[in-house]
């Protein structure tokens, strides 16, 4: 049996949907130097963080499964910076970058991967389960696609606050009874998650009730070893999926963080204002394997190199150190400043590794903590169960 749709060719970095016209940078360009430099730093932080993570994993200091974000940094930084700090976010399992871009302490993130008590989930969740409620970052999900309805629900609640409750629910940064705010939730997903029923149920619901959630497909071309056109119909025109649910769809280039922002920020603003959903096909690419054990038989080194040639960090650095100059012709970022930034970030990441390594592993008592809000006898496991169970023989 052959596939009904002619397979689209292997992903190529050449042709993102949005034109790379010179005028495109209007919005991002007008941001202050400091903001753009911060973006560069955050992307570099994610890159460096993942490098160290890979190293620690290879040395068996991190266990479990580990999915690195290297290559996709511009996506997390460009989208999350278009939000308000209290707009909720849900994500899949390739989540370190989003957590960091959202402001999670690198120490808490690294310690989580090391399985330490000081991790963001007390070392009980690991790489796929980054959570940071104070930053409105609702995780990290190991079931592909499952997070998308959750994002819909978070957005639904925000809309409910505005349109029904007339006040905010008590939440991080919100005092009881504060007036509600118009919010947008971001639900990140991979291209593989496009094929999960959960997403389609969520999109239909969001379309039906005009819920302010943006589904961001981080389209890196692969779902594990399956190239998108081998697993998804209409891979060449994902907007068809959005259209089916009456949701506005956009294709956005995810390699150039400024271009990404230029296209994404107005969309966020519109969804917030009009309280409605959207769907984004965000073109990106992962440089490394799906996880730490991936022989990558499904793609060529050549293909990877093509994408590396338009690396988002390199591009941004080049822009800030060359193209972007003040009236006197001085670039926004000097070589020395860039050097300094890299040093600062490297030290920060090294510190996070040291912190993780020196943190205690969770006490076995943590096995039975946090199962229920109100543990009752015989309901959730209690201390009596640990090491040998509650034993009528004892």
């Amino acid at each position: 049996m052959t596939q009904a749709h002619a397979p689209t060719p292997a992903p190529s970095p050449a042709k993102p949907d949005s034109p790379r016209a010179a005028s495109r940078r209007r919005m991002a360009e007008q941001l202050p130097d400091a903001t753009l430099i911060k973006w560069l730093r955050d992307m570099f932080l994610i890159r460096e963080f993942e490098n160290r993570t890979a190293q620690a994993y290879q040395q068996a200091r991190i266990g479990g499964f580990c999915h690195l974000y290297t290559g996709q940094e511009a996506v997390a930084v460009g989208t999350i910076n278009a939000l308000q700090p209290d707009d909720p976010i849900v994500h899949a399992y390739r989540d370190h970058g989003h957590a960091l871009a959202r402001g999670m302490d690198p120490r808490a993130c690294m310690a989580e991967m090391f399985g330490r008590a000081s991790g963001c989930a007390k070392g009980k969740g690991g790489s796929m389960h980054m959570f940071d409620k104070p930053h409105w970052f609702f995780g990290g999900h190991g079931i592909v696609g499952a997070q998308t309805p959750l994002g819909t629900g978070l957005a639904f609640a925000a809309k409910y606050e505005c349109e029904v409750l007339g006040k905010s629910l008590p939440n991080p940064g919100v005092l009881d009874g504060q007036p509600p705010k118009k919010k947008v939730a971001l639900a990140f997903l991979g291209d593989g998650a496009l094929n999960q029923g959960a997403l389609h149920e969520a999109m239909n619901l969001a379309g039906l009730y005009s819920i302010p959630v943006i589904y961001i497909v981080e389209n890196n071309g692969y779902s594990m070893g399956t190239a998108i056109h081998r697993g998804t119909t209409m891979a060449h025109d994902l907007m068809a999926k959005a259209r089916a649910y009456g949701i506005e769809g956009r294709v956005i280039d995810g390699f150039d963080v400024m271009e990404l922002y230029d296209h994404f920020k107005p969309l966020v603003d519109a969804c917030r204002e009009e309280q409605r959903p959207a769907f984004v096909d965000l073109k990106t690419y992962r440089y490394l394997g799906h996880s730490m054990s991936d022989p990558q038989k499904y793609r060529t080194k050549d293909e990877v190199d093509q994408f590396k040639a338009k690396d988002s960090i390199d591009c941004m650095a080049a822009y800030l150190m060359g193209e972007r100059v003040d009236a006197a012709g001085k670039p926004s970022l000097s070589q020395d400043q860039f050097q300094e930034m890299q040093e600062e970030v490297r030290a920060l990441v090294r510190d996070s590794v040291e912190f993780a390594e020196n943190s205690p592993v969770p006490d076995p008592a943590e096995l039975y903590s946090d199962v229920f809000v109100n543990p009752q006898p015989n309901l959730s496991p209690t201390a009596e169960y640990v090491k040998g169970a509650r034993n009528p023989l004892l």
Binding site: G64, G123, G125, G192, M224, G225, P362, L367, S380, K387
Partner: protein, 332 residues
């Protein structure tokens, strides 16, 4: 795939044995198809289906989209039409999205159609903890499926049993959930019978005979129990039973053993409450009440989510807990 010289000399891992069974059945029966995420080109997440697509083609070893409900439902449809589908679900936690199809349809179809439609389906699922993976990649949900009328549930612990039980499962006219203990996947090799080799579903195996106490377990926990047996004083004679099939339960083997020993410990890595151990303890008290010298004991996981790897070994039953519990039961 055909055995390599190394396999002939050193034996097969559990992964090799399952691969061999699939190969043989694909060769023998044109109605057999494999389907799942990355099972073809990539040979599956655990490389269990490695090489099969090359030999049997993409129509019989089918790469699917990432969509467990769709995979399971399609497999059920194939089975209804008389095929012998073998879907792979990459990890036991991903049965979640497929649960509706498996439990609300596959399991009930025969009853619902008053015997007119049967579902010869074998769902292969890597199972259990011990490989440092987080929750949803380390769970032990066998009791959920054993509790679902209409499903058979199998969980072999050795390469030979895996081959024999998988061939039986594929040929079984009813749906079988075939749990593969990840922890054992490549942990050791053994000589596995060549050619057509089946082990009947529903038969437990007495791994070691003994007279003082019966220890019942399945999957990877067989090895923790063996380790525990090594550590016990010589004067405790343990009968170790590997359940192999979770459902239907081989009650005869269990009853015979416990009537002989009068004591029993059940070891499972699933959460304690309402796991298979609970059912086994009930069966034992129903049939062996007057033979019992001590209450049946459970060594189990905890009623909580499987923790990340630093606490994994605190969660999973280990030789120490098993030895302690055997000791307490003996001293009762």
């Amino acid at each position: 795939m055909p055995r390599t010289p190394m396999m002939i000399e050193k034996g097969l891992t559990l992964v090799d044995a399952i691969n061999e069974a699939l190969y043989q059945e694909l060769e023998r029966d044109p109605r057999v198809v494999l389907l799942g995420e990355d099972v073809g080109l990539n040979g599956g997440v655990f490389r269990v289906t490695e090489g099969l697509q090359k030999v049997f083609g993409a129509d019989r070893v089918v790469d699917t989209p990432l969509a467990e409900s769709g995979i399971m439902g399609t497999a059920i449809g194939l089975a209804m039409a008389g095929m012998r589908p073998i879907p792979e679900i990459q990890f036991e936690g991903f049965l979640g999205p497929a649960y509706d199809q498996l439990c609300n349809h596959a399991a009930r179809y025969r009853t619902r159609t008053r015997g007119a439609v049967t579902i010869p389906l074998t769902v292969r699922v890597p199972w259990g903890g011990g490989i440092h993976a987080p929750e949803l990649h380390s769970d032990s949900p066998e009791a959920i499926y054993a509790h679902t009328p209409g499903l058979k549930v199998v969980c072999p612990s050795t390469p030979s049993d895996a081959k024999g039980l998988l061939l039986s499962a594929i040929r079984d006219p009813d749906p079988v959930v075939f749990f593969e203990p990840k922890r054992v996947y490549r942990s050791y090799r053994e000589q596995v019978p060549e050619g057509d080799y089946t082990i009947p579903i529903g038969q437990a195996k007495v791994v070691q005979e003994g007279s003082d106490i019966t220890v019942i377990t399945w999957g990877a926990n067989v090895f923790q129990c063996l380790e525990a047996l090594d550590k016990l004083p010589d004067d405790v004679s343990v009968e170790l039973i590997d359940l192999r099939t979770i459902y239907p339960i081989d009650t005869d083997t269990i009853i015979q053993s416990v009537q002989k020993t009068g004591r029993c410990v059940v070891v499972q890595e699933a959460p304690k409450t309402l796991g298979m151990a609970s059912e086994l303890a009930t069966i034992i008290q129903e049939h062996c009440f007057l033979y019992l010298k001590a209450p049946v004991q459970r060594v189990a996981g905890f009623d909580t989510v499987m923790p990340y790897y630093k606490l994994e070994l605190d969660y999973l039953p280990d030789a120490k807990r098993i030895v302690e519990t055997i000791g307490l039961t003996m001293a009762y």
